[in-house]
């Protein structure tokens, strides 16, 4: 079990206007672990991810308090925001295919980072598409528009894209809601492999997915951490908080 802290969050408060959605949460995410986040809708899971890669800046009404550090560097005062975001791969619940070809979608981040040798980019595109279990389906039509793929394929394309800048942290926000179970299992296997090279934050509504993959899991509810601990405990018969047991077993309320 890895133990070095990768992301440290202290007393994070987030409000959209006057509505506070994260009520001062503190947690550490360790390097090279798969960190599961479970919880019902509206509990602040996505907002947490958006705070980490600072895409929360796109919501002008959002106000953030508290500290988040990645590798000891304060995220909110980051000097080079672009370098920070390059460290973090993000997969949204519904695929956002950029209006570019499949190849250009995956080559986007390497090119933005300054890579321009065709052979290098080719290699990365193939590697990422393979990791996202998409290569075999698209290798003959890399030039066609990414938005013409089916929903599940597009989602795998966004996963390939999130891997394309070889992030240190990969955030997956309910990545499997548009993907069939077989592909989901293939990607889950890939995630287990990727853990060697990156920290993975897995936000999921499928509690069983967190149970299968996550080393530790956090149960977030209404912007508060109900329980955070090893997945064995969270999904076992005796988590510390009764509500965790009830949520995980579908007995909530």
């Amino acid at each position: 079990m890895p133990s070095e802290t990768h992301i440290e969050i202290r007393d994070l408060r987030l409000a959209y206007g006057t509505r506070e959605v994260l009520h001062g949460i503190s947690l550490d995410i360790r390097r090279n672990e798969i960190f599961g986040v479970i919880g019902p809708a509206q509990s602040g899971k996505t907002s947490l991810l958006r705070c980490i890669n600072r895409t929360i800046d796109f919501s002008p009404e959002a106000s953030v308090a508290g500290t988040i550090t990645v590798d000891g560097e304060d995220v909110r005062g980051a000097k080079d925001l672009y370098a920070l975001r390059r460290k973090i791969g993000m997969v949204a619940p519904l695929p956002v295919g950029l209006p570019l070809s499949i190849y250009d979608n995956v080559a986007f981040a390497p090119r933005c980072a300054g890579m321009n040798r065709k052979a290098d980019i080719d290699a990365i595109v193939e590697q990422c598409l393979r990791q996202a279990a998409l290569w075999d389906e698209v290798k003959d039509r890399l030039d066609s528009l990414g938005t013409k793929l089916s929903g599940g394929q597009q989602q795998r394309l966004t996963i390939a894209r999130a891997l394309s800048h070889q992030p240190e942290i990969l955030c997956l926000d309910e990545f499997s809601i548009a993907i069939d179970p077989v592909t989901t299992m293939r990607i889950e296997d890939v995630l287990k492999d990727l853990r060697k090279n990156m920290t993975i934050i897995l936000v999921t509504n499928l509690t069983q997915q967190a149970r299968r993959l996550a080393d530790r899991t956090m149960f977030l509810w209404n912007g508060e951490i109900i329980e955070l601990g090893p997945s064995d405990t969270i999904f076992g018969n005796s988590p510390r908080d009764r509500r965790t047991y009830e949520y995980v077993n579908g007995l909530f309320g």
Partner: protein, 315 residues
């Protein structure tokens, strides 16, 4: 969140299954369909009837023996009121129209698109509102006022800075037309960029793109159809503009050799001479033929644009 919060529905009702819409609602829908159909079809009707009218006025001279279409298109001899040898060559004026339009676009397209990108992506919300209002104000200035500025202010400046003998020339007309096209390009271009979903911006930024990389690699490709439309409406404005260029370009029928030469455009020529040409004379009909020529030019500009857009879409 818990089951206790939601009241269990006491009794299911299936009233919707038996609901019926009144007859007038169905008839009303049919009528509205017919009405908007008529609105849509009328556009075709109007364009066709304008073309037919202009062409009908021009046809007698076009098909007469006295008239040579090749001479009309490729001669620069424009002597419609000569006593002995009337000549109707519009090449000089076509060259005038193209040169002024080209200069105007060379100035207005980079300026307009740059301003659209700045307003949409880079400037703060308050400055953005101010800029948009001012740009729309710019679009509301009547063309005769632009012509007036060209004739008095610009003309003096051009003489002063370039040493040209006359200040009303291609440069003057081009700048005035550019100033008139920029607001159109900015406001439509800004709309096109605004129509790009924010999720693209967020996805691009999350991949580590800087603002410029985002604009260059994501927003411009995503908005290219709208931006092309913005540029073409600007071109349309420039090709069709009459009053301002009439006043600002010097009205001389000759093929220009530098941007400091005076020219006459096709539109300005029609405006200036139609009032003096005797009705149903050859001169009068040739002026309508120039109208047909303008029609054809704009048609091909639009067609080219349409094909460009389709080409972009297919890829």
């Amino acid at each position: 969140m818990s089951a206790g919060d939601t009241q269990p529905a006491a009794q299911f009702s299936f009233a919707v299954r038996h609901a019926k819409r009144p007859a007038w609602a169905l008839i009303g829908e049919r009528l509205l369909t017919a009405l908007i159909y008529a609105c849509g079809i009328s556009a075709i009707f109007f364009v066709l009837s304008i073309f037919v009218f202009v062409f009908k006025e021009a046809a007698p001279v076009l098909f007469s023996d006295r008239f040579d279409l090749r001479q009309f298109l490729f001669s620069e001899q424009w002597y419609p009121t000569s006593e002995i040898n009337k000549r109707y060559g519009v090449l000089a004026m076509t060259a005038g129209t193209f040169s002024v339009t080209a200069l105007a676009m060379a100035i207005a397209v980079p300026f307009g698109l740059g301003a659209a990108i700045y307003v949409s992506e880079f400037c703060g919300p308050r400055l953005k509102e101010t800029l948009k209002i001012i740009i729309e104000l710019l679009a509301a200035i009547p063309s005769v006022v632009w012509g007036f500025i060209g004739l008095t202010v610009m003309s003096k400046l051009i003489v002063q800075f370039t040493g040209a003998p006359v200040g009303v020339n291609i440069l003057n007309g081009g700048i005035i037309l550019a100033l008139m096209s920029v607001p159109i390009i900015v406001s439509i271009g800004e709309d096109a960029l605004k129509a790009v979903p924010d999720s693209y911006r967020e996805a691009g930024i999350a991949l580590g793109a800087t603002r410029w990389q985002l604009v260059w690699r994501v927003l411009l490709p995503a908005a290219k159809n709208g931006l092309l439309a913005a540029v073409l409406l600007g071109v349309g404005r420039a090709v069709g503009e009459t009053m301002a260029v009439l006043m600002a370009t010097g009205h001389a029928v000759k093929i220009p050799h530098s941007i400091l030469d005076s020219v006459r455009t096709l539109t300005a020529n029609i405006a200036a001479e139609l009032g003096e040409a005797p009705a149903d004379s050859d001169h009068y009909r040739v002026l309508f033929l120039i109208g047909v020529l303008l029609f054809t030019i704009t048609f091909f500009v639009n067609l080219a644009a349409d094909m460009a857009v389709r080409g972009i879409r297919k890829k």
